[in-house]
Structures are given as structure tokens and as C-alpha cells.
């Protein structure tokens, strides 16, 4: 079994297509960075809209989140690349991929932010209010700095899964890692070799990133290791009738 498997490998000609694979990897990374750059702030805006006081903005944010999370990312990419051109809106494949996955990820990240903001204790908000802070100042000075500590690890994990999900963009003919591999292997038929190399490239980025996220998570936990406040039985001092 093992020997049969190993026999599938043929490192002949690797040197010829390795540069193309590296270009594909660079494209995958570029996609990841562009999408992170857009979806991180976009997700936060959507989360703030969902938590805000305007009913209109709240419903818009909810609909956005539900629609995006309720449909496949592939479908969203198809829409942008194949349906929008019928309305005269045309993007090149890379831009279409960035827009599609940014929209997709922003909906998920919005929920991460929302959970992080909701995790800020009520007492912190009341204290900020009692000091006369406006909602905006409270958000900027108290709520977001505390929420960020909570959301950094999950955001990191989304970043890693985004790097893998950029392979979806091959469907709109972006020559990222997977699509490049398909092109190469369909001419030299060395499927095992090509896709194993691709797997190794993905791992080479994902695994160190996962370690980094885990390290961050530990660091955040150390920072947050607040002594649990003993709320005790506050009324114990009174002989309540």
C-alpha cells in the first residue's frame, strides 16, 4: 500500500512548475490579506449596527448576517462574478474574489465582535455611564478595548480558515494555489505530487499561524486573569424579616 502510494510520486519536473505554485501561494496570501483588511472593519461596523439604537440599522445588519450566513460562499462568489455583469457590474476575478469573501467573512466576524461586546460586564458600562460618558466615548474607551481582548483568538482562527477558504475563489478563475495546481496537474498528470506539495504549502502557513493564535490566546488569558469579584451575599448583613 505504502509503496504503491510512494510510487505515485514523481519529483521529475518539480522545478518547472514550482515557481507557478509559489505564485499561486502568493496569490492565496494576497487574497487573505486583502480580505482580512476589508472584513475586519466591515464586520465591526455591522456588529455596531446590530447593537446600535437605530431600528433600521439593526434590521439591516440582521438581514445581512442571516442572508450571508444562510447561503454558501460559493453561491455568493457566483453572484458577484456571473450575475452582477448582467447589470453591467464587472470585476476582474481577483477583485470579485476579494469582494465575495470579504462580504462572507464580515458576516461571521460581525457575530464574533457582537459576542465579544456582549461579554463586557454590565457594571463596566454602568460605571462609564455614571461618569457622564456618551455612548460613543463609552464604546471607544471602555467597551471595545475590553471586547478586543476577548475576540482576538477567534478572529485569529477565522484568519487561518480564511487562508484555506481562499481556494473557493478558484471557481471564478483566480489563479491561486488550488487552481494553479489543477492547471499543472491536468497537463502533467502528476496529481499526487502536485496536490501533496500544495497541501504542504497550506500547512506551512496554517500550522505556525495556529501556534501563534494559541500563544495569543494564552497571553490574553493571563491578562484577563482577574480575581473573581466576590459578590457574596450582599444582604447577609441585614436581618431581613
Amino acid at each position: 500500500m505504502l509503496t504503491e502510494f510512494l510510487a505515485l510520486f514523481d519529483l521529475h519536473g518539480v522545478g518547472d512548475y514550482l515557481p507557478a505554485l509559489m505564485r499561486g501561494a502568493a496569490t492565496s496570501l494576497a487574497l487573505t490579506f486583502c480580505i482580512i483588511l476589508i472584513s475586519l472593519p466591515l464586520g465591526l461596523l455591522i456588529a455596531l449596527a446590530k447593537l446600535g439604537r437605530s431600528r433600521l440599522l439593526r434590521s439591516c445588519a440582521s438581514i445581512y448576517i442571516e442572508v450571508i450566513r444562510g447561503t454558501p460562499a460559493l453561491l455568493q462568489l457566483f453572484y458577484i462574478y456571473f450575475v452582477l455583469p448582467s447589470f453591467g457590474i464587472r470585476f476582474d476575478p481577483f477583485v470579485a474574489g476579494v469582494i465575495g469573501l470579504s462580504i462572507n467573512y464580515s458576516a461571521y466576524l460581525a457575530e464574533v465582535y457582537r459576542a465579544g461586546i456582549a461579554a463586557v460586564p454590565r457594571g463596566q458600562i454602568e460605571a462609564a455611564k455614571a461618569l457622564g460618558m456618551s455612548r460613543r466615548k463609552m464604546l471607544r474607551l471602555i467597551v471595545l478595548p475590553q471586547a478586543i481582548r476577548v475576540v482576538i483568538p477567534p478572529l485569529g482562527n477565522y484568519g487561518i480558515s480564511l487562508f484555506k477558504d481562499t481556494s473557493l475563489v478558484s471557481i471564478v478563475t483566480v489563479k491561486e494555489l488550488i487552481f494553479t495546481g489543477q492547471i499543472i496537474s491536468s497537463t502533467n498528470f502528476q496529481y499526487a505530487t502536485v496536490f501533496t506539495i500544495i497541501g504542504a504549502i497550506y500547512l506551512a502557513f496554517s500550522y505556525p499561524s495556529a501556534l501563534l493564535v494559541r500563544w495569543l490566546e494564552r497571553r490574553m488569558n493571563v491578562g484577563n486573569k482577574a480575581k473573581p469579584i466576590d459578590h457574596g451575599a450582599p444582604d447577609a448583613a441585614v436581618g431581613a424579616p
Partner: protein
Amino acid sequence: MIRLEGVNKRFGDHQALEDVSLSVAKGEVLCVVGPSGSGKSTMLRCINHLETVDSGSIYFDEAPVYQNLGNRRRRADSDREVEAIRAKVGMVFQSFNLFSHLSVIENITVAPIHVLGLSLSDATQSAYALLDKVGLRAKADAYPHELSGGQQQRVAIARALAMQPEVMLFDEVTSALDPELVGEVLRVMRTLADEGMTMVVVTHEMGFAREVSDRIVFMAEGRIVEEGHPAAFFAAPQQARTRDFLRSLWERNRQLGGAVSL
């Protein structure tokens, strides 16, 4: 300075405040006592707009904070007015609520800088003066989780004072503390009272109420049952409900061998 007129507040089926009227004069130290669930904290929170009232009016410096216009119409102040009032009213909470991501000095300076518009150096300078006052200058760079409950509460008092409030509201500020830490917080409050700060103190510390307050208000079931001078209040309560309350405290104190300060 603060005046409540016919304030009602209900949470679902529970009538938290029923026709509460009260006024607090400048420089007065008012202690609010009563069994748990009697609406003491709710009243305090209404003054600071952390709760909205269902009906009735609350005035701060004779300007309405909240006014019931009758006929189910009411006038709630704009956000800006509410914030302006809160900036003048200091509040200290039972659970301290220090900002966990900020150091002690930052906790004290954040609102003066961003709400009052003080410069960093001015705010820091007065923050150190306040830390001296509460005896915690050495902890300026510590984070809240590194402090004991009593220390956290003293920082919380300093944080509220940094806004140079006209009145301080204390919401059961010693109830979450270990007994041996209560004294240090009460000492700070006593100093404030001696300096003439206007204070409304919701408390279970009867010793403090008796010795420090100018007037005591006793609440039960959302109503103000009795109010009076502390000496008269403890020596000769007028209402049966007050006598029951004081008797239960007294019995509890005797069972504990005098451990509860009365």
C-alpha cells in the same frame, strides 16, 4: 439639590418604587436604610438615570432630570442633558466596577480627560492627589485585579471624585467586601462627609448611618416609611415597620455577639 416628587418605578409585576418623594440639601449626608428589595438602590439609580422612572419627577439643582407631565406623557432629557447631570453626580457601586483594562491612574483620569476635557497632566496631578486622599498612591500603576476589594472600592471613590461631583451616590459600597476591609472604605467616606460633600448613602452599615449621617431615610416595599435625625431614628422610631426592622437587626447583632456594628 436633589428632589424627587412622586416617583414610581416598576419592574414587571414588582413595584420597586411607590410614590417616593425626597429632597437632599447641599452638604447633607443622607443615609438610606431598609431591608433588601426595598427600592433603595433603585431610587439611587433613578437619580443617576441608570433607570428610567415610570412616573414622577426628579430635579437636580431645580432643573428637571426627569419629569412626568401626566397623561402618560413624560419628558425624558436628551442624552446630552443626561450625560451632563451624570458628570456632576458621582456614583460608587457595590461591585466597584473599575475598568478592568485600565490601570488605577487611568481609571481615575479617563473621564476627566474625555468628558471634562482636562489635559493629561492636570488630570494625572489631581488623580495623584485623590489617591493620596484614599491612601493608594503606591498602587497608581496597578491593575484592578491586583487590588483587594477594599482597595478597589477606594479607587472607585477616587474615580468618582475626580469628576469634581456636586453630590456622591453610594450604592451599598461595602456590601461586597470582606468584613475586615469595610473599615478602610467607611473611613474614606467619613472624611468626605466631614469635608462637606453632599452624599446619598444606601447602606447596611448602621454604625456609619448613625454616626455620620445628618438624616436617615428608612425604606420598605418601595416606599419611604420614615425619615428623621439619626439619634431620633434609632432611639425612638415612629413606625411599626421601622421598629420591626431595627429589632431584627438588634437580635441578629445579639446572636453574633455584637459583631455587627449597631
